[in-house]
């Protein structure tokens, strides 16, 4: 039971006669502690983390610690700061760039090349260093793209790092009986510290004395409601008890002194942060896809290599030669250029996202949002503005809506009523919050206020509606004041009036509405004081219920002009005795406040919904508030009901409701604690619209895991330290850049620099687009593998002079075709991708069989035929007829044979034949290029006709084609090329030979797309749609 779990330690305090205080914090061992095996599991269990505290019994006097002792403890415990999670060393980060799926494939290929080179050397064949060049090229590609990827991530890390708060926190500490201001990181366990309103709590503190101290634990729990802190122990759980203030929470008002019980990573917040580091990072979907793709390639490579190894053996090649062939074929299957293409495409998208304020830490995470099917979003600060704002007012028996937009662009309400003037006066005067000085130029909503959230909201509200509140307060001098406390549940103050001739005092009061109403005798309606009869009371109740039902915090306001006879100027008001009337007041109105949703959120949620993405709210806040916000942003859509709603509507007990009828469901942390994982999964399946309220960091983790168990790809958004474990566990963690804590940013994969949830939609869109476009790029890149491989196969089996050389292949892969394949990343979406369901990670693969088969065996085959046509043309026109070529290899390659006869009887030296061979390489190269131009055009779309997509819409692609042609010309016609890179200046008509095949590719693909569009679901669609 929870009770058991809370009994981990108890805090005892004894007051000793001489005024010294002893705080004893004893740790009780519980039997649960020892299970190291299930470390992560046990960490998830509520509060088990606290078990591992080693809090010593402390004895501290009010003089504070001795600074020498403090120095010693500091040495022992280390500075009081959250250690950044063990930063991965830079070389490991770099090594990771070299160890992806594709990279491994290329390493293996390079190794094979070197082995093949070794075998050739062993055989004394020193003429061909192609294998060596290939190995070097492969390694170079891996290393260069590795550097590129590393640089990209390094840059985004820098962007994130620049957001870190560099100002060291100060703390007031009492040591050797004196007060010091020191850096918070110098504090040690046992130090006596003072905190006051506006401070950040510098460590976990056991409160000893407090005056009206309130803290905001939102950085820990996500709940921004102020909580009082006092010396009394009120709960056995250290998280619930009133007498411990936690590291990194805010002190909103009041003052307190306390003894530090935990510093640095041993604090609660440190524990949560370290919980995140215990969670394994999930593999990104794109990494999984690339591995799947590598499997396909490796399988095909070995199949082809094996087949031709056998063929070579049967033809009668020696074993070692056949082995070299096998290796060459396997290596030829490795798409050298693909790694560069994928890396560049991903970083292009990363750049595009960065321009829209999404910074991606890991390149591969760029696509993840596109595959996301569930978004678990934190509420405070992510969906909402993270500031209490006045949202509704009730006066003159009418609910008025205040402007809650961030930039005050919304509609205001009617402010002409007398009642409003009175209410406004109460709001301004009965308020202890004030602006920090020197912020006159800052827009009101952004100003820093000392005071709790409600008072801040009211202060800003009146500042906006009334004008300068500080000056206003000075005109109405405060005579006395009773601050809010939990027994009275009201706050009042008495002010002199502005007009010196009017001797009356004004008593203003605010507080819990029902308590305020009790004290009122009249109600102000349109400036008239009317007796508060049953009818008005009912009206009040209805309004109160309405506003409360919106999940808003409601306050009542009333006032009274004191009788000048009884209370003349200078009357000594006594707040202890309350020698003034606190009943029979005049009720002015109700004001309700809420942390309003960000303006862009409802639209973004709607877009997610149309994109088939489920948005789940996971918050530390109250269920009612959570539900209200969920409803207002559309997470719970209009007309959706929870089980409780149905029960209330049908007036039946909750148990009788058919749970399947309820679309929405609100689960709070308490319920979640007693729930088995299976139950949670069941609930997630049953209700499409989910809200989790009052959840702990561990529970967020469990929710994420449950979603993942359902096969979903989960995105988590959050800003607090409490979100960081879930951020880490998620397939993609999205942290807020401005409000986000460092822990959250460290755990996240993506950071929204503008804290705007709507940016996620951009991320989804870009992610989906890049997935589609990567598919196109890969299809484009894979196609040319076949025309690069078949020359070699024909060379082995039919013994023609080699039609395409190794260096030429490298030029195609790494030079001419890179730009066009990257340009496909700029392709616009074919259809409205934001109206499609997220892809099914098990079915919709990046590279599926249809893509590989279509690229390899259809388009690739056409390209091969184009290459061979051009090859035979070039050979025949120079004097070597096709039939003569067959079986010519041995003589052709004999470098002693200087008078080999061609079909006309002409005699060729070896050198002349070599140049002829280079001519063939070039011709084959040009054929592949021409076909690839056609290929890049057809790859623009997978389903639509290219005519529908538009030929010139993608300018980059057009430029890429022109560039490719220019590069082809340069390689062919630049002097010196023949002897350096084996390119020969070829005749113009040989450029035209592959054209019919290029046109065939285009027409064939248009037919394919037409079939796919016309007959969805047919065998044609299944076999040919990739």
């Amino acid at each position: 039971s929870p009770q058991d779990q809370y009994e981990m330690y108890s805090v005892e305090m004894e007051k000793q006669g001489n005024g010294d205080m002893d705080v004893k914090i004893k740790k009780k061992k519980t039997n649960k502690a020892a299970k190291k095996k299930e470390k992560l599991e046990s960490m998830k269990k509520e509060m088990d983390g606290c078990l591992h505290l080693t809090w010593d019994t402390l004895s501290i006097c009010i003089q504070g610690m001795n600074s020498t002792v403090a120095g010693e403890i500091l040495l022992r415990d280390g500075p009081n700061e959250l250690k950044p999670p063990k930063g991965t060393p830079e070389y490991v980060k770099f090594a990771r760039q070299l160890a992806g799926g594709l990279q491994c494939l290329m390493w293996v290929a390079a190794a094979i090349c070197l082995i093949a080179f070794g075998i050739q050397c062993g055989q004394g064949d020193l003429t061909s260093a192609d294998n060596l060049y290939l190995a070097i090229a492969l390694i170079a590609v891996v290393v260069v793209t590795g550097c590129f990827g590393y640089y990209q991530e390094f840059k985004s890390t820098n962007i994130i790092a620049s957001f870190k708060n560099l100002v060291p926190q100060q703390a007031t500490v009492i040591r050797d009986g004196d007060k010091f201001q020191i850096n918070a990181n110098q504090l040690v366990v046992g130090d006596l510290v003072e905190i006051k309103g506006g401070d950040r709590v510098p460590a976990d503190i056991r409160i000893i004395t407090a005056q009206g101290c309130k803290v905001d634990n939102s950085s820990l729990t996500g709940e921004s409601e102020p909580q009082t802190r006092a010396p009394e122990c009120t709960h056995e759980s250290p998280l619930e008890t009133r007498n411990i203030a936690f590291f990194s929470t805010m002190c909103l008002e009041g003052t307190a002194t306390g003894i530090i019980v935990n510093t640095g990573d041993r604090t609660i917040i440190g524990r949560i942060a370290s919980l995140a580091s215990g969670v394994e990072n999930e593999k990104t979907p794109i990494a999984i896809e690339i591995e799947h793709f590598v499997d396909i390639i490796a399988g095909l490579a070995i199949f082809f290599g094996g087949t031709f190894f056998i063929v070579a053996m049967v033809i009668g090649y020696p074993f070692l030669k056949a082995m070299v062939f096998f290796m060459a074929i396997v290596v030829a299957y490795v798409p050298e250029g693909l790694l560069a293409t994928v890396t560049v495409c991903l970083s292009l998208t990363a750049k595009r996202l960065a321009r829209k304020n999404c910074v991606v830490k890991n390149l591969e995470a760029v696509e993840t949002l596109g595959s996301t099917s569930v978004i678990c979003s934190d509420k405070t600060g992510t969906l909402t503005q993270n500031r209490m704002t006045v949202s509704h007012l009730w006066f003159d028996n009418q609910i008025h809506t205040a402007d809650t937009t961030e930039d005050q662009s919304g509609q205001s309400f009617d402010q002409s009523s007398e009642t409003w003037r009175a209410l406004c006066k109460i709001v301004s005067l009965c308020n202890r919050a004030f602006f920090k000085s020197g912020q006159d130029n800052v827009p009101v909503p952004k100003r820093i206020v000392i005071g709790d959230a409600s008072e801040t909201a009211l202060l800003k509200f009146s500042e906006i509606t009334l004008g300068n509140v500080m000056e206003y307060r000075e005109r109405y001098k405060k005579a006395c004041e009773i601050p809010f406390n939990s027994t009275n549940k009201f706050q009042l103050s008495i002010h002199e009036l502005e007009d010196p001739r009017d001797p009356r005092y004004l008593l203003v009061m605010k507080g819990a509405p029902e308590r305020i109403l009790e004290r009122c005798a009249t109600i102000m309606i349109k400036g008239q004081e009317l007796p508060l009869d049953e009818q008005w009371k009912e009206a009040f109740q209805t309004a109160y219920m309405d506003l409360g039902g919106l999940g808003e915090r409601v306050l009542g306001f009333c006032h009274l002009y004191l009788d000048p006879g009884q209370f003349p100027r200078g009357f000594a008001f006594d707040t202890e005795d309350m020698n003034f009337p606190t009943s029979g007041l005049c009720f002015a109105g109700l004001i309700s406040m809420i942390d309003p949703p960000r303006a862009t959120v409802p639209d973004a949620v709607m877009k997610c919904r149309t994109a088939g993405i489920r948005v789940i709210m996971v918050t530390g806040d109250h269920p009612i508030t959570a539900k209200a916000i969920a409803a207002s942003v559309g997470i719970i859509s209009e007309g959706s009901e929870t089980v409780e709603d149905i029960a209330a509507r049908m007036r039946i007990p909750v148990e009788q409701v058919n749970k399947r009828e309820a679309r929405a469901c609100v689960v709070n942390g308490g319920q979640l604690k007693d729930m088995e994982t299976e139950e949670l999964v069941e609930i997630l399946k049953m209700h499409p619209e989910m809200v989790f309220a009052r959840t702990s960091p561990q529970q967020k983790l469990i929710i994420v895991e449950s979603c993942q168990k359902l096969g979903a790809i989960v995105a988590v958004t959050g800003d607090g330290v409490n979100d960081s474990p879930a951020l880490k566990k998620a397939d993609i963690g999205v942290a807020m850049g401005i409000a986000g804590s460092d822990a959250a940013k460290n755990a996240a994969d993506m950071i929204l620099l503008d804290d705007n949830f709507a940016s996620i939609v951009t991320g989804v869109e870009q992610g989906r687009l890049i997935f589609d476009n990567l598919k196109k790029s890969i299809a484009y890149t894979l196609t040319k593998n076949i025309p690069e491989l078949t020359p070699y196969l024909i060379y082995i089996t039919v013994s023609v002079p080699l039609p395409l050389g190794c260096i030429t292949i490298l030029f195609i892969e790494l030079c001419t075709d890179i730009f066009p394949s990257v340009s496909l990343a700029y392709e616009k979406a074919e259809s409205d991708i934001m109206h499609l369901k997220p892809r099914n990670p098990r079915r919709d693969r990046l590279v599926n069989e249809a893509l590989a088969v279509y690229s390899y065996f259809q388009i690739g085959a056409i390209q091969s035929f184009a290459g061979f046509t051009d090859y035979f043309t070039a050979m025949a026109q120079e004097g070597w007829f096709p039939l003569l070529c067959v079986g010519l290899r041995a003589q052709w390659e004999n470098d002693h044979l200087q008078d080999l006869q061609d079909s006309y009887g002409q005699e060729w030296t070896f050198g002349q034949r070599l140049y002829q061979e280079y001519t063939c390489y070039t011709v084959f190269f040009i054929s592949i290029e021409m076909c690839q131009i056609s290929d890049v055009l057809i790859r623009k779309t997978r389903r639509l006709s290219v005519f529908q997509q538009g030929f010139f819409r993608n300018k980059i692609l057009v430029i890429a084609i022109v560039f490719q042609l220019c590069l082809g010309c340069f390689l062919c016609y630049c002097p010196g090329m023949p002897n350096i890179f084996n390119f020969m200046p070829i005749r113009f008509q040989w450029w035209l030979v592959p054209l019919p095949y290029g046109i065939l590719i285009f027409v064939y693909d248009e037919i394919r797309k037409l079939g796919v569009r016309r007959h969805p679901g047919s065998w044609w669609d299944k076999e040919l749609y990739y």
């Binding site: 035979f872 009887g905 002409q906 050198g911 065998w1019």
Partner: protein
Amino acid sequence: NSLRQPKPSVWVEVLATVLTTTCPLCFAGLILLFYLILYMFLAGMFSFCIYGLLLTLSPYTPTYRDRVSPPGVMIRPYLHGFTIAFNVSEPSTWTPYVNSMHHFLQAYDDNIQEEKNIECPAGQYFVQDGAESKEKKACQFKRSQLQNCSGIEDPTFGYSTGQPCILLKMNRIIGYRPGYGTPVSVNCAIQKGNESALKSVDFYPGNGTFDLMYYPYYGKLTHVNYTSPLVALHFTDVKKNDFVPIQCRLNGEGIVNNVTNDRFLGRIIFTLSIGM
């Protein structure tokens, strides 16, 4: 008449759907059929293109001759490479060279030449006009013109005395007229090293020139009996018991003999190693 016949395309579709849904093997069959048709079509297109290509080619004259000219040079005897090494005292070391020479020169036997070829006026190109397909006549190049290297007087071509003959042959190129009117001549020198290693070389016929009358060549289809003219190099005084690298060049207008990438273009480099 109420049952209307569905269109054939619909039939195909229905059939395909039925087949594919009923048995997976039929589906595989369908795919195979698809690929069969696709590849047949591609093969057809390829054949058509090649056929079209062959139609444009002349059987007598190559479309382009830019890669094969200027001419390369080759020597005989040719066994494995360009090192001619033998020991005078051991006939087994030089017999293969001699046999190779004899074999090569069979076609140049005087009687064969007289029978098949005509005598042409020396010192001018033997241009034969007329239809391209008409059979062309070839000029006589008699073995006896090679004098000491003809193998008639000395059937060992000097190998038995350590004064080997080597025949030099210019590669055939259709329509090529070497020297542009001036006969191409041959000279030989030490490629690198001690110049004194090669004291004297005799050239036959004439002063080691390729007579113009043997050109142009009209291709093997019409110029059936064409025999390449030869220049014999008689190395009468070469340093013995050493590897002597020799470079023989063609000299004439239009001849290129100094390209580093092709050491057989207009020149040839071989090594003589004559043991005593």
